[in-house]
């Protein structure tokens, strides 16, 4: 029994560290792409330290890099962060944290820490998984952001190194695992279509916000209850 528990601890520790290294390493792109979009090294670091959510960070400098307004950048970044709120709803049940620990747990609530936590069977491993994955990514993500930002500002013209294509590829890699099923595919296709149609007529940054309509068009109507209930 005791050995079994320790085995399970070791398994979740290994998994957390593997996820932390894999995810933390690509903080280097968060730094490089931020300075390529025109942010300073300090601003890149502020986003990694204080915002700490890859998708939202990439969205922020994606909009800025395309010439969009800071307001549109904040809006895109914030809309991408909505999912973290739902993650918090899930993991707050598992963690049972209060006061400063809750404030800290909230900051570490991202895709990966949530995924590792909710895939564990027991409360003990769920908590180990959440804290170790979250803290591990936080440390590495910020170190690598600094490396990427310093390297990026030393490189000069980001287009010569294909960093604009790297930013697009980062979005593709973030989208890829979310495309399972009919609703996500329909949403992705409709969002791309909306972007292409409105882009010539509105300022940069706005097409991305208009594309949110795709999520509403696909997600809101659910008249046939059968399909929705099978999902649960």
């Amino acid at each position: 029994m005791r050995a079994g528990l320790l085995d399970e601890d070791a398994t979740v520790v290994r998994k957390s560290l593997a996820v932390a290294v894999a995810t933390g390493t690509y903080g280097i792109t968060a730094g490089a792409l931020a300075v390529a979009a025109g942010l300073s090294v300090l601003q890149a670091m502020a986003l990694s330290l204080l915002l700490f959510s890859g998708g939202s960070q990439f969205a922020f400098f994606g909009v800025i890099g395309a010439g969009g307004s800071p307001v549109a950048a904040v809006a895109s970044s914030t809309l991408l962060g909505v999912r973290n709120g739902l993650y918090g709803l899930q993991v707050s049940q598992l963690l049972g944290v209060h006061r400063w620990k809750r404030a800290l747990a909230a900051h570490l609530t991202i895709d990966e820490s949530t995924a590792v936590a909710v895939t564990q069977q027991r409360t003990r491993q769920q908590r180990i998984g959440f804290w170790l994955t979250g803290a591990g990514i936080f440390v590495l993500w910020n170190l690598m952001t600094l490396v990427g930002a310093l390297a990026g500002s030393a490189l000069g013209d980001p287009r010569a190194y294909g960093l604009d294509a790297a930013a697009a590829a980062a979005f593709v890699a973030l989208l890829w695992p979310r495309l399972r099923g009919r609703d996500p595919l329909a949403t992705g296709a409709l969002a791309a279509f909306v972007t292409v149609v409105v882009a010539p007529f509105v300022p940069a940054g706005i097409p991305v916000l208009a594309a949110v309509a795709a999520a509403l068009v696909v997600g809101l109507p659910r008249r046939a209850p059968s399909a929705a209930q099978v999902d649960r």
Binding site: G55, G62, I64, P70, A106, G162, F171, R178
Partner: protein
């Protein structure tokens, strides 16, 4: 709005959303349409960001250039289950090579 104000506003809003999950009672967010739309939000935004970043000019017109070549290589590598860094680096190298030689 200065860039710093935008950076700090984005940080504050991101944290507020994270914390809301811990503070808001479960039933408030446990509405069926919220659960259907929320996972689709990142899909819509990322799809739009890909189009903007890879296929549009500064004037908002569709164009196929070095960036599209980079994205094509990225998709190929994702099909082959390559990891994130490999995908991103390969896209950059592809675009840089296309620009250097064409």
């Amino acid at each position: 709005m200065s860039m710093w104000v935008a950076v700090l506003a984005a940080c504050a809003l991101a944290y507020a959303l994270k914390l809301a999950g811990y503070l808001v009672p479960q039933h408030v967010l446990d509405i069926p349409w919220v659960h259907r739309v929320t996972p689709l939000l990142p899909v819509a935004l990322l799809s739009a960001l890909i189009v903007t970043q890879a296929f549009l000019t500064d004037e908002g017109r569709v164009v196929l250039d070095a960036r599209a070549a980079g994205v094509a290589v990225a998709v190929l590598l994702l099909v082959l289950r390559a990891n994130f860094l490999v995908v991103v680096a390969a896209a950059a190298v592809t675009a840089a090579l296309v620009r250097a030689f064409f």
